[in-house]
């Protein structure tokens, strides 16, 4: 077995520098969940590994405007963002606490999670509904893109060569989240479908902003934009929720896989969206 070089940057600058000099040869290692599984399955044989765990990228910063999640922040830290019990932090906590099991949440990082392939990567769905942005650093400097732009599906992203994810930025806008995770097992095991909703209503209870994301019904989670538009300005009654679920399912592009058929995923996409919206109101 060829020896793999381990690169251990102690800062973001050093990480970017090392990555630029090893473009194409280095695999980025954060928590290790996906990289180690791929390595031991023989699917991954990198010449070098760039370890981000010592680059100072872990931590959560909360301001009135945003929650900034350092790229190597473990999901367990997100799962503990339970206070206050509403808002973006609670939404992240609700979704993060359902990922894998504690041992996975301890190791998996929010940055790495963006590269996780279906059927895993549930938290991507909630991040989409929260309108999260991804902060990137490369030799050319820093940029931010929306998660929606960042994700390409099946673990692929629009990350440029020599670029690193340094943080995920979640707007701390007013509103309530709802999350529905449909899975066979209640313990460890993949989700069949995830739906996340973010709703902000006016004083009359009419929907001002709705963001809906669906995971597990295509190569990447998607924003159910038609459903979102249909809800704006309306009271979120049963009819509206059902309609939103149906519209969300129309945008699905599922395929058959080991866990469920395309038919099933489309069916439950509608159900899950309806439930997520209902949960978002109840909050």
């Amino acid at each position: 077995m060829a020896n793999i070089e381990l690169l251990r940057p102690r800062s973001v600058d050093e990480a970017v520098d090392l990555l630029e000099r090893s473009v194409g040869a280095a695999t980025v290692l954060a928590g290790g969940v996906d990289v180690m599984a791929g390595y031991y399955a023989g699917l991954l044989r990198p010449r070098a590994v760039l370890y981000l765990g010592e680059a100072g990228l872990s931590g959560v910063q909360t301001t009135a405007q945003a929650i900034t999640l350092g790229a190597t922040t473990p999901l367990l830290r997100l799962a503990e963002l339970g206070q206050p019990s509403n808002g973006a932090g609670a939404a992240l906590a609700a979704a993060a606490s359902r990922v894998g099991t504690r041992a996975i949440q301890i190791q998996a990082t929010i940055g790495g999670h963006l590269f996780t392939r279906p059927p895993y990567g549930d938290l991507q769905t909630m991040l989409l509904a929260l309108d999260a942005r991804v902060r990137l650093r490369g030799a050319a400097g820093e940029r931010e893109v929306s998660l929606d732009t960042f994700l390409r599906g099946n673990g692929e992203t629009t990350l440029g060569p020599g670029e690193l994810v340094t943080a995920v930025v979640v707007p701390n806008a007013p509103g309530h989240a709802g999350y529905e995770r449909i899975a066979l097992t209640r313990g460890i095991g993949p989700a069949l479908l995830t739906a996340a909703a973010w709703v902000d209503r006016d004083a009359d209870g009419r929907c001002r902003v709705a963001r809906i994301a669906v995971g597990g019904a295509g190569p990447r989670p998607y924003r159910a934009t038609r459903a979102e538009q249909a809800l704006v300005g309306r009271a979120l009654d049963d009819v509206a929720l059902r309609e939103a679920g149906a519209l969300a399912a129309e945008q699905a592009s599922p395929s058959d896989d080991t866990f469920a058929s395309a038919w099933y995923r489309r069916k439950v996409a509608a159900v899950a969206v309806e439930r997520a919206l209902r949960a978002a109101q109840g909050a």
């Binding site: 381990l6 928590g31 969940v33 180690m36 399955a41 504690r102 313990g187 460890i188």
Partner: protein, 166 residues
Amino acid sequence: MSVATTPAAQTELVVSFTLNGRPVQVRTRALDSVLAVLREQLQIGSVRVGCNEGDCGVCTVLLDGEPHRGCLLPAFVAEGREITTVEGLGDVNQLHPLQRAFHEHFASQCGFCTPGMILTAKSLLDRSPAPSREEIVAAISGNLCRCTGYRSIIRAIESVAQQGGR
């Protein structure tokens, strides 16, 4: 030839950590797992290969008291930290309360998942000495067992929890 000619690059690493209270030092490569290092270099037989991809929890170790998948944890990450395996909890002559409870409640059939279950339970009781049944179930719901149906395992952990984790 090095891909990044920098002092930061290493191919063979010497990693020192504490294993069950004793300092150890191993030579590893970048992606050697804690599971591989414990089994192949340190003769820790209780940390076993169930899937090698994080699905089963058979290779659970405690890293600074928290459960980790030994198969997904690069060994170099353990540098300067403390790894506990079930050998470090107690031995036949001096059983840890969880070990005794698992034995007395028939919570181990083939025994293959048992060390991972006990360690996961230990970390729960360390965080929360009197967990509810729901918390116990949630804590072990990432560790697979194919023999017992989990019921006896839950009873064993509950019995220790009821004694305040002792």
